[in-house]
Amino acid sequence: MKYFTGLVAGFAVVVVTLAPAAAQHTVAAKFDVSKSITLTGTVTQVDWATPYAHILMKVPSANSGAPARWAVEIESPILLSNNGWSQTTVKPGDVIRVEGPPARDGSKQVSGKTVLLTSTNKVVFKGYNGTPVAKPVVPDAPTPLWPDGHPRLGPTPGQTGYWGNPSSTSLVQAGVSVPMDAYGLLKNISDVDKVAPMQKWARDVYELRQRTFLSSDPMFQGCKPPGGPRQYQQISGVQFVEDLEHQRIFVLMGGGNRNERIMYLDGRKQVGQRNGDDDNPLYYGRAVAKWESGTLVADIIGFNEKFWFDNGGLPHTEQLHLKERYTRTSMNTLKYEVTIEDPGAYTKPWTASWTLQWIPGEELPYFLCQDNRP
C-alpha cells in the first residue's frame, strides 16, 4: 500500500512540475556560484545515481516550524568512488554541515562545495566540478597489435580496459591555450575569439552559451548524446570493440547514455540504411574508416544540429565534416586528432588533438545521463 502511495504521489509530482531537468553540467549551469550558503542538518537519504549523487537532508527551521528539506548535489558516483567514497560515507541520521552555492532557480538545492561530518568535524567532500582523479601511472608497453600487424584499439586477450582521462576536456584549436573548467566553461569570457575560427553568428552563439554557463546544453537539458569530438572528452571515457569478422569498430560511450556507434571499415558509402535511419541527420553521424599504417583514419558526415559537439558549446551545422586520426602510440596512450570542416559555422578548417589514457583492468564505468530520476 505504501508503494502505491509513493507511486501515485510520484506521478503527481512529475506531472505538476515542469522545471528544467538536470543532467551533466558545470556547477555554474545550475548553481549561483557568486553566492554561498551554509546549512546544518540531518541526512535522510543518499541518492547514489549518475550523473550526480545527492545527499538529502532535513534542516531545522529557525522558528520551530517543520524542518526544510534540502538536496545537496555532489559528484557522480563514479568520481566519488574513485575518491574513496561509498554509498555509506555519510548515512541517514548523520549530521552534516554543507557549504556551497545555492540553486539559481531558488529551489532547495545546494552544490556541496564542502560537506563536513559534525561527529568527527572532518570534511568528507570537497567539490571538484567534474575534474577526474588522476589514475595511477602503470608501466607502459609497446602498442599491442593484431596478428595482421595493425594496432589494437581495445584490450589484449584476457585483459580489460578502456580509454579515459582525456588530456583536454574541451575543444580548442591547435596552438591555442585558454583556461577552462572541466566542462568547457571559459575562465575569462574575453577568450571567446581565441577558441576557434568561428563565423560571426557562431561566435555570438558561443559567447551566449558561455555567458549562460552552458545551461542550454542539450546534454544537460535532455540527455542528448555527445556526438563528434565531445565523446572523447567525457569524464567516463570510451571503449573500442573491433569486430574483425564484419570490418567495423564499435565505439562504446562512457558519457551521455552509454550509447554505441559504429565506424565501418568495409568500404561502404556514407549513406543511410533503408528502413533504418534512412538519410536522417544523426547525433553520431555516418562514419567510415580505414587503417593507414598504424593510424585509424575516420571520416564522418551526416550530423544533425541537435547536440553540442563540444563540452563548451561551440556551434556546428549539418555541414559538419570530421576527419579523425586515432593513433595508439603505446599500450597506454591513444592520440586523437580531428580536423573540423564546417563552412556553415567556421571560416576555415581547423584542427585539435589530445590524448586518452588507457585505464587497465576496468570496464567502462557505468554512467547513464538519465539515471538519477525518477
Partner: protein, 299 residues
Amino acid sequence: MRNQSTKKTFTVLTAFVLTLGLSVLGLSQGAAPAAQNGVTAPPLPAAPANAGRGAAGRGGARGANATPSAPTPRRADGKPIMGSMPGTATGRWNGGPTTLPPRNLDEVPFQPWARIVYDQRQIDQFEPHTRCKASGAARQFSTPYGTEFLEVPDLQRIYIMDEGGPHSYRIIYMDGRPHPKNLAPSYYGHSIGSWDGDTLVVDTIGFNEKFWMDTRGTPHTTQLHFIERFTRTDFNTMQYQATIDDPGAYTKTWTTPLFSMRWGANQDLFEYVCQDNNKGPELMLGSQESVDRSILYVP
C-alpha cells in the same frame, strides 16, 4: 444500386490486394542481400516478410509459421554462431518475448505484493523504458528493432547491442570468470555465459529495480538471479527461455514458456536515440522539484 455497390466493393478489394502485394514486395526488397553493404551474403532463404517487425502482444513470435531455413551456422569448433556469419552483412534478432509469464498467471509464484504491483502495472503502464531507461533482462529483446549479437572470440565475450531504448549494450563474459562480489546494482547486471551443448546459458545477477524485465511489468527485485537459455535452432530462429530466481518477488523459482526470435537478415544497427524526440524530459530526468523529493521519499 446493388450492382454499383458490388462493383465498389470489388474495386476496394482489388486495391487492397494490390496494395498488400506491393507492400510485401517492398518488404522483401528491403531484406534483399547486399543491398547496402557492398558485402555479398551467401544465398540463404529470406526471412519472412514480417520478420523485421517486433511482435506485439503475448509471446513474441510464438506460433509463427515455420519457414524454410538454412541450418544453424557454426564456427570451426562446432559452436553455433549466435550473431552474423563472419564476412557477411550483419543482421538482428527480432520479435522477442514481450511478456514472460505463461498465459495462466496463476502458474506464476508471485508473492502477494508482486502480484499487486503486476496488476497495477497493467493499468498505469508507467514504464521506465518510455523514459529512455536501459532495458534490462528480457526487456532487451522486446524493443521494436531487435538486438544484435556481437561475438568477439578474441576477447571471449558476447555483446548484445540494443537498437531501441537508449541504444546501449550488455556484455556476456565467456571466459569462465565468476560474478564479482559486492556488485553495484545496474540495468543489465553482470552476465556470465557458458555452453550447454548447443545452448548458450547466460547467468545474470546485480540488477537494479529501475527497469521492467518485460514490457508487461513482471516485477523483480535486486535479488533477481536471471538465467537465460539461447538456442539457435536453425539459421533464422533463436529459441529463448528464462528462469526467474528472485526470492524478493516470488515464492519459488519459475521458468518462462519457450519463446523464439526471428533472424532479420541484412539489418545493420542504425542510430536510434530514444531521447531524440522525447517530449517529456522531466519524465526522463526528473525535475528540480523531484530532486527535493519532499513528498516521495523524505519521511
